[in-house]
Symmetry: C2
């Protein structure tokens, strides 16, 4: 019977936008390493999707080799794919029939294929990618994947889950980096695990241009949503780096943050109302007038307050009313080079005092990340720029995006000029800024470029008063963790400030290092341990558990360190109240419950 | 025994800031009516607190008489106070001892005096003021009032309540206009009702100037908090019209909104973290570093998400970390006159498109409210202004407050000039703006000036696309409700836009009319019915149940019209989970529960 259920790559898109399996991004876009006749190594991104695509990157291999103090072996770089098989899941013939009844008997929307189960039981951590590539899974995978098309189908699935004691784990783009779509182990939860993939629920239900609102189904990807709004002359302004694949529902469940939050806000500002299939029925607002949302209101606790950060554990978000903005009159980019990261920090802190007058986005790259970005530009003299008397060894770079009316931009640019000058900065133009931006998108591809060289990224919010300390100590912790393990070569650690707020900033760390693949050492353990040490250092010094990735399972052991016992008891009680038989049993973050 | 507990007016402040009893505001500031030798009536606000104080307002009585089509009787205006007595409350001698144990045996912090019980079982609706003045209460009053001084005292009270089955109703400034501090009737809840007045918990626990944060106890009044921050060179930017008396805890519990939200945000933006004494213990964040707050975070549902809009039903907020801003470099005022309210509406809608470039506050007064404001200015020729070819009968007025750097203000003023011109507006300078602002503060005093002339105010959020309809139909509804009741004279109805958002605006309606005091007709009924009709009309046409006042008991019958059943079941379940024996049984808003 289950052989009928074979949809495999359906979930990966179609046409020119098929998603890769076992690595980040589109299948048409990945880095390849070519050895030129003269023996030098050139890296090229395939396809034509990004501005970087097709351009020979002659400096990259040299940069990596120097930083990691190792040779790159051109023969070990590419991922061939494993033909992994999985032990059968728990889906019985009866369960299959039941699920099919809920989805209009559409067998093309139910799968037990290994590839689907594997992809839906993972996300996009280094750990996940390693598992998908090696075919060796250390956590349980869902027994079945279902693609509902409507609220009533989701309801039908939830009610089957209640009746037959299944566990549902909502799935959006699967771009989380917190293990939030991992299944609890069979010891913790022996029930049937059903991954409910929301990506077929991607309709725009209505648009109200006058009020600047759109009601959209939650499975829509950022790419799709942005494009559909663009065609109407609008933007949502929300651009997490993962927007090509992540979904509206995932953003809400994880409390995502986009690069342009200065102007457009974070997901909590963008989303006005949510509709949710919960274990207690549909949670939503009622409106008597058409295409209406209440906007700011004081009407008790709203459904949205319960769903932001719910991480799949309180129900399935099926749609949301979001804010849309007319496309900006002008968009432009600028970059500023500073003598040091410290000088750059003083600049962004001063910029934060400008409050609402800040440009849409301002990121600050530390020296290492800036040099990485430069190593990923074409080696043409045109791409050179004026460093003045700044040292390449200490320079830090702010990349800025302006969006707004011509007058607004003029005003903001003036502020940037003045503040840059005040901190010894040199304006370096839009090209450098663009390359910093490209780097953001390329870095995820880069991670998967050479599987021997692992890149891990993690973020934190830090108040201004603790920022320098947190950045310094976190880097130091990573270096010493690396050292104490006698790992090969050197680690590469870099950071950037990605979001600035009145009271502090989000810092994003990357670290990259080589890991020996010998039987004794699973690279997933090494990375997990180092990340946990870094996180502890961050918390000890006044940084947060998460600025935007969420907690999932990866960071849930830290939860007791950030909330009082009374709060944890309370939130556990809330979970039980809203989902008495634990239909949404993903056990993420504050809903991890007590370990069994 | 209970005769020891006699603190009476302690709750009303001291020195020059004693709060009135049975009317809004400070005891030193109230309107009085003087008949001049020539027979004309002059209104004067006593004291020297406001810019309007001490100035003879010669036009006001004439204005009111004309609009209401009635004569004002100078002999019926002032409130003499009733020496009301109350039936004994339920506090037993044992309970008294128990409470005293929790508060360090400080008898000065427990009261059963009629005045205290009455004040703590009311708020500031017209209904409440009528009750306090007439001494005739239609809802149950608390049996005792307690003033805790610390988190542990609040905890001790909550645990007594759990043990001995009492109901606690948190009390801040008692400025609510939703009956949220009324006690449920004895039929609904026969338990001992204890009002926990938070006003002695008013310490600033720490200030972190670098991050722009302050940790403040929740009982502090806005007046006190603003003054304390001002002395350090900071502002909280939060200015609800009630700020002189309302408290930080009350703002959070009701989800308050201030006039300058364009710049400083609403209470949800201002408050970063809360600490709460709940029935399940203390709900709070933990931090390893000193004077730190996490700022934006993605760490599941935070305590704040549960407390915003909790209306006293989930616990006592004991403190909050709030955002503070350096005092603005410049503050200035402007006003713009428009040929009609419609033209003014188009102006504010266009201004809303400026998003973050909007001035700190922009309010739009309709013709009636503008004329009322003018009637409250001194009759000196200097106060005249240039109406141009606008008609006094149709003119509407936008009053604007700018706060920020000199450059920012220049920029914003330019926008205001351009947009005003585009909609036929005439800049009328800061004096008119100031008088609009004064009106806001005076109107609450005005309401209580003549008890025969009742003023009711209520607010709603309306999306731009429904705004005209909602304003027109709400006014029409009030007029027709008045007519159908054959009440004396004419009603005076006016409105203003108080807050503007990207997707809509908050509209505030006032209506004033005379009510006969004859035994058959309780004015509280008349007002209640008319307000309910207006609210129904608002909801039918796309307005919201509340933009900032909250729901309380006054609007709770509408709750099933704005949320789905599934959501109401959910939120009821959340309440039961967080407060299993219903210690915080105020039964407001979404926590009203099913009527017994
Ligand atoms: C390269 C890369 C860049 C990234 N950049 C950013 C960034 O800039 N900003 C940022 O905030 N994050 C970023 N992330 C993290 C990730 O993209 C976000 O957490 C995103 O919000 C996840 O959305 P998703 O649709 O992929 O959710 P999934 O990964 O599918 O699921 C995440 C969680 O949400 C739940 N969920 C998903 N859909 C629903 C639904 N409809 N109803 C209820 N629960 C649901 C799941 O159960 C799970 O707990 C990045 C990740 C990668 C790999
Ligand atoms: C003249 C006037 C002008 C007003 N202007 C505005 C305005 O501009 N904007 C606005 O938003 N509102 C306004 N209001 C309404 C009112 O001031 C607000 O609702 C205010 O937030 C109430 O605060 P409070 O401290 O007076 O609370 P209270 O009236 O004492 O209580 C209100 C609710 O909050 C609960 N509560 C109070 N303190 C706590 C605590 N520490 N912990 C838990 N629960 C608590 C109470 O139980 C009750 O449910 C106005 C009212 C008046 C009379």
């Amino acid at each position: 019977f289950s052989s009928q259920l074979n949809i495999g790559s359906r979930n990966r898109g179609s046409g020119d936008s098929v998603e890769s399996f076992g690595s980040w991004g589109f299948e048409d876009s990945r880095f390849v390493l070519n050895t030129l006749p003269n023996g030098s190594n050139v890296v090229i991104m395939k396809g034509g999707r990004y501005s970087i695509s097709g351009k020979p990157l002659t400096k990259l291999v040299g940069f990596i080799e120097k930083e990691l103090n190792m040779k790159i072996d051109p023969n070990s770089e590419s991922f061939q794919g494993v033909d992994f098989s999985l032990p059968d899941g728990k889906l019985t013939a009866e369960d299959t029939v039941r699920i099919l009844t809920a989805i209009d008997d559409d067998t093309s929307r139910l799968s037990t294929v290994a590839e689907d189960r594997a992809r839906h039981g993972t996300g996009h951590t280094q750990d996940d990618i390693y598992s998908l590539r090696s075919g060796s899974f250390r956590t349980r995978l869902p027994d079945a994947v279902v693609w509902p098309r409507s609220v009533s189908e989701v309801q039908a699935l939830a009610s089957l889950a209640t009746t037959y004691n299944w566990c549902i784990i909502p799935f959006g783009g699967g771009t989380n980096v917190t293990h939030s779509t991992h299944c609890p182990s069979s010891t913790v939860d022996p029930r049937l695990m059903v991954s409910v993939d929301m990506k077929l629920m991607k309709n725009v239900l209505w648009v109200n241009e006058e009020d600047g609102l759109a009601h959209v189904e939650a499975g829509i990807t950022g790419r799709d949503l942005i494009e559909r709004m663009r065609r109407l002359g609008f933007t949502i302004g929300h651009e997490p780096d993962s927007y090509e694949f992540s979904t509206l529902g995932g953003w809400i469940a994880t409390k995502a943050s986009g690069m342009k939050q200065n102007k457009y806000g974070n997901i909590e500002d963008i989303v006005k109302e949510v509709t949710v299939v919960s274990a207690k029925g549909i949670m939503s607002h009622k409106h008597k007038a058409n295409k209406v949302s209440y906007g700011r209101s004081s009407a008790g606790i709203e459904p949205k307050a319960l769903m932001l950060g719910s991480e799949g554990c309180l129900g399935v978000i099926t749609s949301a009313v979001i804010k849309i903005w007319p496309l900006a009159e002008e968009i432009s980019h600028e970059s500023v080079l500073f003598p040091s990261f410290d000088a750059g920090l003083r600049f962004v802190k001063d910029l934060s005092n400008q409050r609402t007058l800040k440009p849409a986005s301002c990121r600050l790259l530390d020296n290492e990340q800036f040099r990485l970005g430069q190593a990923m530009t074409e080696n043409s003299p045109k791409m050179g720029f004026y460093l003045g008397n700044l040292s390449e060894k200490t320079v830090a770079c702010a990349t800025i995006t302006f969006e707004g009316s011509a007058a607004e931009l003029r005003f903001q640019k003036k502020i940037i000029c003045e503040l840059s000058a005040a901190h010894g900065g040199i304006l370096a133009g839009s090209r450098v800024s663009k390359s910093g931006y490209d780097l953001t998108f390329a870095i995820a591809y880069l991670r998967d470029f050479a599987m021997n060289y692992n890149i891990l990224g993690f973020e934190t919010f830090v108040p201004w008063s603790k920022l320098r300390t947190v950045v310094e100590r976190t880097k130091r912790t990573i270096l010493s963790e690396h050292k104490s393990r006698a790992l090969p070569g050197l680690p590469f650690v870099c950071s950037r400030i990605t979001q600035i707020y009145d009271e502090g900033a989000c810092v994003y760390f990357y670290f990259c290092m080589a890991v020996n693949f010998n039987g004794a050492l699973d690279p997933r353990d090494v990375f997990g341990e180092i990340e946990a040490s870094a996180r502890r250092e961050i918390l000890n010094n006044g940084g947060s558990l998460s600025h935007h990735h969420g907690i999932g399972k990866l960071r849930s052991s830290f939860v007791p360190e950030i909330y009082s016992d009374g709060y944890l008891d309370s939130i556990n009680a809330v979970k039980t109240a809203l989902d008495p038989v634990n239909v949404f049993g993903a056990r993420n973050g504050v809903f991890a419950g007590k370990p069994c």
